[in-house]
């Protein structure tokens, strides 16, 4: 207990890290379930259905499978790089989540007032880009250390793609920086508060729509997702740079890819979609919006109970009503006066991130993939000039407005 | 608090190790990396002094050192690639056509 009183900041940070890790790992696991379900529905089939009610235990089954598979190490592989690469990928993907704030409120844990972010830095944006730019090493090392043709080609192609689109990614964000005037996420989101004509939110997506499109495209390419996933597509390069990885190391690459997806979506929310701000104005007539989180959870709870009781599978009949009751309980908690102002920020933040993740999965189910030379020429000859034009026009407008 | 002399000693040690790498290694690319290590050691000294005298000029210089190192690495590695293509080896002792 003395440790807690002598180092309150450290203990509170450790608690926040533990909570964030737990939430993110669960979200990762269920993001895979969500993706398989949505892609399956787009392709007119069911997706995971049998493992647990509506396939909800599928991530657990996948995790157990990955843990118990045989861990094959190619004999000619470079041991240090081979083992380092997946750890590096996952560690970096999770480290970037320490910089992302989910709400403006200041809550108090263990008597210590703290913000809803693990590490509040005033150069958070550029630190985030710096950390994700080291993630390229994981891909390059994985491809090279496997000492085999397909991983090497996949790794080099994948990392060349990541480097190319990283330039457009950072350039498309500079427009937002010019408007906001700071690297700090709190300032960037703070600059998006307020509404035009009392109902149109002042989010950065509206003046920076070109920047948003560039950012989203570059982000999909940066995280190696469809339509830019040639280096890891099964029909092209076996499995790209993670061909020779099995069991837990492959699972780490997998988790790192989804964690990168989540990070990039969180960043897009903070920069362009207003972060934790609600799209409705804050005036008196709109006070009903404070009950939206509670209302949403209660509706979800009732839906789960009804759907569970009417379901066909026995497991659905047992599990979903319990989940529904839990949702109702959490929904009631959100109406308590202590919790209600604090939950607004994270609710809207989560809703927007969820929308962007749905967009990611939707793109995966719908679009065919680029060929590699089409991909590179798209990145350098189209996206980069587009981001540069966005930057020039934005800076012109900012300077002219200053006069 | 950490006295500034600690930072300077660390910078000196890194610089010395960079010189050792530059003199004793044979692979051209490793020699290049030892040069980058020396530049990094100098950067550390600049940032430490900038903190000590509370001036920003040190940080500006670090900025320029990083930029120049980037340009130098690009051209240097292109030259290394041409050498490797022509001499079919990355050993610096094989680049000896102008030797007396």
């Amino acid at each position: 207990m003395e440790f807690v009183t002598h180092h309150p900041v450290l203990v509170v940070s450790l608690i926040k890290i533990a909570i964030a890790l737990f939430v993110v790992m669960t979200a990762l696991a269920y993001l895979t379930w969500f993706e398989r379900k949505v892609v399956a529905r787009i392709q007119s089939r069911w997706g995971p259905y049998w493992v647990g009610p509506h396939g909800l235990l599928q991530p657990l089954a996948d995790g157990i499978k990955f843990l118990f598979k045989e861990d094959i190490v190619p004999p000619a592989a470079d041991k240090i790089s081979y083992v380092l690469a997946p750890f590096l990928a996952l560690a970096l993907a999770l480290t970037t989540l320490a910089l992302i704030p989910i709400g403006p409120a200041t809550i108090s844990i263990l008597g210590q007032p703290t913000q809803l972010v693990i590490s509040h830095s005033n150069v958070a944006l550029i630190l985030l880009f710096a950390i994700s730019s080291i993630g390229i090493y994981a891909v390059v090392l994985a491809g090279w250390s496997s000492n085999s043709k397909y991983p090497l080609m996949g790794g080099l192609r994948s990392s060349a793609q990541m480097i190319s689109y990283e330039v457009s990614l950072t350039l498309s964000v500079v427009g937002v920086l010019l408007i906001a005037g700071s690297f700090d996420f709190y300032d960037i989101v703070g600059g998006q508060s307020g509404h035009w004509a009392h109902f149109f939110p002042k989010w950065h997506i509206f003046p920076q729509i070109l920047g948003f499109i560039c950012y989203l495209t570059a982000a999909i390419a940066e995280t190696n997702r469809v339509p830019f996933d040639l280096p890891e597509a099964e029909t092209e390069l076996v499995a790209g740079f993670h061909t020779e990885y099995s069991s837990f190391k492959f699972a780490m690459f997998f988790m790192a890819e989804y964690a990168n997806m989540i990070t990039v979506s969180c960043l897009a929310t903070l920069l362009f979609l207003g972060g934790w701000l609600s799209p409705f104005p804050e005036t008196g007539a709109w006070r009903w919006q404070l009950y939206l989180p509670a209302a949403g959870l209660i509706i979800a709870g009732i839906g789960l109970i009804v759907g569970g009781l009417r379901g066909v599978q026995l497991s659905a009949k047992l599990v979903f009503p319990v989940l529904g009751i839990v949702c109702l309980g959490v929904g009631y908690l959100c109406t308590l006066p202590g919790v209600m102002p604090v939950i607004q920020g994270p609710f809207w933040f989560t809703a927007k991130v969820f929308f962007l993740l749905f967009f990611y999965v939707w793109a995966r189910g719908t679009l065919p993939r680029f060929r590699y030379d089409q991909l590179m020429s798209f990145g350098w000859k189209f996206l980069l000039p587009l981001s540069l034009i966005n930057l020039v026009v934005t800076s012109l407008v900012v300077v002219l407005r200053l006069r | 608090m950490v006295p500034i002399s600690y930072y300077l000693i660390l910078s000196a040690v890194l610089f010395g190790l960079g010189v050792i790498g530059f003199v004793f290694k044979r692979n051209i690319i490793t020699i290049f990396m030892a040069i980058e290590l020396m530049l990094n050691a100098v950067n550390l000294a600049f940032v430490a002094f900038s903190r000590e005298f509370n001036q920003l000029d040190g940080l500006i210089f670090v900025f320029f050192v990083i930029v120049v190192a980037a340009a130098e690495a690009a051209v240097g590695l292109a030259i290394v690639m041409v050498i490797a293509r022509n001499r079919k080896s990355l050993n610096v002792e094989d680049v000896n056509l102008l030797k007396f």
């Binding site: - | 930072y7 040690v13 890194l14 051209v75 030259i79």
Partner: protein, 169 residues
């Protein structure tokens, strides 16, 4: 022994271990990774010295772009295992002790000169929240000529690299 000293010692040890690994590694890829480790530990030291922007630039540009270029070239050129140099006995038995002596002498003189300064001004400093603004003001007013010159320098470097690395077809 406060947190700043602990972080300094940890990062200092990491940097020296990385530099030693750079010299002693047999594969160039391992040397490149060791150099990345050195750069990251130096970036943490810059954070400790209160220059957060420079730390981010160091990782973003130096460790994230220049070293990736190094790693690419090493992989493309298939730089194999390093040949062990036959270090002359003079260098080993005389050079190394002399080098250590030089280092000790430098450390002593540095400590004598700067160790007495009030340690309150140096060491762990909170990152200056206005550092980026102040740096950019300086960069674009006092140092605008070197800034523009470096942009031309980068352009020349890109063109030079392209021309040099092209295959004669």
């Amino acid at each position: 022994m406060n947190i700043a000293m602990l972080v300094f010692i940890a990062c200092g040890v990491m940097a020296i271990v990385g530099a030693l690994a750079l010299i002693l590694a047999r594969e160039p890829v391992h040397s490149a990774l060791a150099l990345v480790l050195v750069m990251i530990s130096l970036a943490i030291l810059y954070l400790l010295l209160g220059a957060a922007f420079i730390a981010a630039i160091q990782i973003l540009v130096y460790a994230g772009a220049i070293m990736v270029l190094f790693v690419f070239v090493i992989m493309l050129l298939n730089a194999g295992e390093e040949v062990r140099t036959n270090v002359s006995r003079l260098a080993k038995w005389v050079g190394l002790p002399l080098g250590v002596f030089f280092l000790v002498e430098m450390a002593y003189s540095l400590f004598r000169e700067y160790g007495n300064r009030a340690a309150a001004t140096s060491g762990a400093a909170a990152p200056d929240p206005r550092l980026t603004q102040q740096l950019s003001m300086k960069l674009f007013t006092e140092f605008v000529l070197p800034f523009e010159l470096t942009s031309i320098l980068i352009l020349i470097a890109v063109l030079g690299a392209l021309v040099l690395a092209k295959r004669e077809s």
